[in-house]
């Protein structure tokens, strides 16, 4: 079994954007692999529609980098903000809340939103996307696999940025420790509650290293700030550094790796089962039956002389059976209506296989007939020309001409030298 084609996210974006415009034809099925993923890649290469995906990902990456740098600086700022400049000391509770508590809270809220997916959030998301005005985005947003892969890519970038925040806080802390030699303290208005809480918090946060390095756990009771506080609490800084690493950066790196792994999983297991994928697959694999172009070549133009209003349903079988022509178009000439005359002249020019002149037996007017014959002379010799002579009753039903009428028509045609036309008399009725 041939190895399955690996897709990159940029290629997937290219595919979805290419498919957002309706694809009508592809190369024949023999051109493509029988494996859908491989075939789609071949199609994408054949179409030569690449570049947008790389552009999107570059933009995303740029946004991610800007976000990470911003959060790194915010992290420094957050750490710096916890410094009491007057006393040159850092409030550890404030520091932990700002650099660990708030990011975890945001993560938790994000997780809940992801699980419950409240409706108004998606509406908000759509409004946001409309604001961005990305026409292409609107076209590809139904592609679940692309959304998943992009979602995990965004998650990776967000976790990278969050790790950068913690790294910024760590940098800020280290800078304050080494360059400003700050002290660490905590203070409270309660008698025991805060101390108890802080002791429990320190105990919990130091879990990862408490067995290996118990010396890096600060004594909470000794660092409470009072009126005589003038620095100290140095045991805290290593604790804070480790807390930021173990509870800030490390989880983010793990989440970042998880998101990245999920993205690669999505990319490895692309099933291409969305409607537009199924449509492309059908186009690739399907046989296309060609339409039958040829039409029956027995279509005839019937020109009623003098607007006789003959019953078409009565004459049609006769024309089919006797003349072997199918009367498709019925026109009139020798009538008052100018439009009908014009229409008949036009129809003569476009006339199909044959032209049937339908004349009432009693109405032979030689000059009129000669005028019509003159027009017919200029037409292609390929067409059959027929003069069908009949009488019509009051209902438009054809009846047979009498002997005198037949003789008149035959005599008239004999005089038309050099002009070939078949003469048929109606024989029934």
């Amino acid at each position: 079994m041939p190895e399955r084609e690996r897709w990159s996210l940029a290629e997937l974006i290219d595919l979805e954007i290419s498919l957002s415009d309706e694809v009508r034809t592809t190369e024949p099925s023999a051109f493509y692999s029988q494996d859908r993923s491989t075939a789609f890649k071949q199609w994408l290469e054949h179409e030569g529609k690449s570049g947008t995906g790389r552009l999107w990902l570059s933009a995303l990456s740029l946004m991610g980098n800007v976000f990470a740098i911003t959060l790194f600086i915010s992290g420094i700022g957050a750490a710096w903000g916890c410094l009491d400049r007057g006393e040159e000391g850092i409030h550890v509770v404030l520091f932990l809340a700002t650099t660990l508590g708030i990011p975890w809270l945001i993560l938790l809220v994000g997780l809940l939103l992801w699980i419950f997916k409240p409706g108004h959030l998606s509406v908000l998301g759509q409004l946001l996307l409309q604001r961005i005005g990305k026409e292409k985005w609107e076209k590809v947003q139904d592609s679940l696999e692309l959304l998943r892969a992009l979602g995990w890519r965004c998650a990776t970038l967000v976790q990278t940025a969050a790790a950068a925040f913690h790294a910024g806080a760590l940098s800020g802390l280290l800078a304050m420790v080494f360059f400003k030699r700050v002290g660490f303290y905590w203070e409270t208005t309660t008698e025991h509650a805060m101390r108890g809480f802080l002791e429990k918090l320190v105990h919990f946060l130091s879990l990862p290293w408490r067995e290996i390095a118990p010396s890096l756990i600060p004594k909470v009771a000794e660092t409470e700030r009072n009126a005589n506080w003038h620095g100290g609490g140095q045991a805290w800084w290593m604790f804070l550094v480790l807390a930021l690493i173990f509870w800030g950066m490390l989880p983010r790196v793990i989440l970042m790796c998880y998101a990245s792994w999920r993205e690669s999983r999505v990319m490895k297991t692309l099933s291409f089962q969305a409607p537009r994928h199924r449509r492309l697959w059908r186009l690739m694999q399907g046989s296309r039956r060609d339409e039958i172009e040829d039409r029956p070549a027995d279509g005839a133009l019937v020109i009623e002389l003098g607007g006789s209003h003959a019953r078409q349903d009565a004459l049609r079988p006769l024309f089919l059976q006797r003349l072997r022509l199918n009367p498709k178009i019925w026109e009139s000439t020798g009538v008052l209506d100018e439009d009908k005359e014009a229409s008949a002249r036009k129809a003569l020019k476009d006339a199909p296989a044959g032209i049937i002149l339908l004349a009432e037996a009693w109405s032979l007017a030689p000059r009129q007939m000669e005028g019509i014959f003159a027009r017919l002379r200029n037409l292609s010799a390929q067409r059959r020309l027929i003069l069908y002579v009949t009488n019509l009753d009051s209902q438009g039903q054809p009846t047979a001409p009498n002997a005198g009428e037949r003789a008149n028509w035959e005599r008239f045609l004999d005089q038309q030298r050099g002009f070939e036309i078949e003469l048929h008399f109606h024989e029934i009725g």
Binding site: S143, L144, Q273, R288, Q321, R324, N326
Partner: protein
């Protein structure tokens, strides 16, 4: 792969005038357009030989010839026998006949000419007609051609068994194979069987015929998939359909004004739903190359699926117990999400309550005639008045998606049952037809329900769409078979 022109098999469809030769071809080639193939009850409708290629992806794999019917077979037979001077006539005499008798027997010559140029014979007879001497003469003439011959019984009325037997016996003596092919009722399996029969009488062109059969299978499979796409797309659009209108504060306060707007929107909803129905049905008709079959839908008259009658809700969709089970499933799923969200601290109460609530709601709503959902609410500056908008949405019934599904599957069945050889412009009606959704398995209903639920909330879960599509495709395959 493209066949060499000389290797393209050709079969001429011959027979007595008005036995349904052209209708047979129309059904076989799926042509219901009289501009291409004229089918009528007028004897002699076909005046000339018409070449009808079976062509896939730009390559012709077989030619079928429509021919004028035998008009004077007994006289023609006598003429050919006279040319043979007492011997049994054969191809040489037929060639002479073609050469010399065109003026007296134009139709016989026209139909025999392609046979003498190498075409196989598809002889169409109507076994509901008595077996007269004229037919025996036709069979005899065709036997003299020495070409591969297949006889097709195309009954145009009720066939007397004794007559059928007589026809088969006589045809069996003159033809390589005898098959029944009802041009006014044949569906895909019958068309395929006809090609298989051609394969049996014309082995030399087996590769081409096999290619056509494979292409037909492929085409059929593509059509089923396209039909499933059309149906699932219609259901999604219908379930997401909402019509809205800004509503002034003064109108909100007065019951009669509110009701007037509600009625206007209800009418608009019906029109929009009918448009969706019409579009989906037209798509199905186009997929199956039907032009004469007309949908029973007119958005201008709000004519389409009648949601205002109890009968619609009773005869289609799920039964009450099935609805309760489906409601419980949907409620339970929503509750399970809650349980998951709170880290299972609810001990599964969400799932249980959701299932009970969903089931109970479905039970109590089960028998009532549903009204459209009406909501008046603010928006994000969407309205021109005081920000309030009346939105009229899908009917407040869990059965609505199933009814939509049934209506489309019924139409699909109607399209499938229609042969292209017919020329009557019939209306594709869904009235008095039974539905399909009640016969779906639990797993199939579950797969569809997941998709329907998201669509009804106007937030379709794309992850569930492929499963729903598969279920619809399977239903379509069952109907087609």
């Amino acid at each position: 792969m493209t066949p060499h022109p000389s290797s393209i098999p050709t079969f001429a469809v011959v027979g007595r005038v008005n036995t349904g030769k052209t209708a047979t071809l129309a059904t076989l080639l799926e042509v219901d357009d009289n501009e291409v193939l004229r089918v009528s009850s007028t004897p002699g409708e076909t005046t000339q030989v018409q070449v009808l290629p079976i062509s896939y992806d730009g390559s012709v794999w077989m030619n079928l010839l429509d021919t004028p019917g035998f008009q004077n077979p007994i006289e023609a037979m006598r003429e050919i026998q006279a040319m043979a001077e007492g011997k049994t006539p054969g191809p040489a005499e037929l060639l002479r006949f073609i050469d010399q008798a065109a003026s007296r027997f134009p139709d016989e010559v026209a139909l025999l000419k392609p046979l003498m140029e190498g075409a196989g014979v598809l002889y169409v007879v109507d076994p509901s007609k008595p077996l007269r001497d004229g037919f025996l003469a036709e069979m005899e003439i065709l036997r003299w051609t020495g070409r591969p011959r297949l006889a097709l019984l195309n009954p145009q009325a009720e066939v007397d068994p004794a007559l059928d037997h007589a026809w088969r016996e006589r045809l069996g003596a003159c033809f390589n194979l005898v098959r029944t092919f009802d041009a006014h009722a044949a569906r895909y399996p019958e068309r395929r069987k006809l090609l298989e029969a051609l394969l049996q009488i014309e082995e030399r062109h087996a590769a081409n015929i096999h290619h056509i059969m494979d292409a037909m299978d492929n085409e059929q499979s593509t059509r089923r998939e396209e039909s499933a796409e059309a149906i699932i797309s219609f259901i999604e659009k219908s379930l997401r359909l909402r019509v809205s209108e800004p509503i002034e504060e003064r109108d909100q306060q007065v019951e009669s004004r509110r009701e007037k707007i509600r009625q206007r929107l209800t009418e608009k909803y019906s029109t929009e739903l009918a448009k969706l129905e019409l579009k989906a049905t037209q798509e199905l008709l186009k997929i199956h190359r039907h032009h004469l079959l007309k949908p029973d839908i007119d958005p201008r008259q709000h004519q389409g699926l009648d949601l205002t009658t109890a009968e619609t809700w009773r005869k289609w969709g799920l039964t009450r117990s099935q609805l309760v089970a489906a409601g419980a499933l949907a409620g339970g799923t929503a509750g399970a999400v809650f349980d998951l969200g709170v880290g299972i601290h609810s001990l599964g109460a969400g799932t249980v309550i959701g299932a009970l609530g969903g089931g109970a709601a479905a039970f109590f709503k089960g028998n009532s005639l549903p009204q459209l959902r009406v909501k008046i609410g603010g928006g994000f500056g969407l309205s021109t008045s005081d920000g309030a908008t009346m939105v009229v949405g899908p009917p407040a019934s869990d059965n609505f998606p199933w009814i939509l599904l049934d209506s489309m599957l019924i139409r699909y069945r109607g399209i499938q049952a229609r042969a292209h050889g017919r020329r009557d412009a019939t209306v594709l009606s869904v009235q008095n037809e039974s539905g399909f959704s009640r016969h779906l398995s639990h797993e199939e209903r579950k797969a569809l329900l997941g998709w329907f639920t998201g669509c009804l909330k106007n937030s379709p879960d794309r992850a569930k769409e492929p499963d729903a599509y598969q279920v619809i495709l399977q239903q379509i395959e069952k109907i087609a078979e």
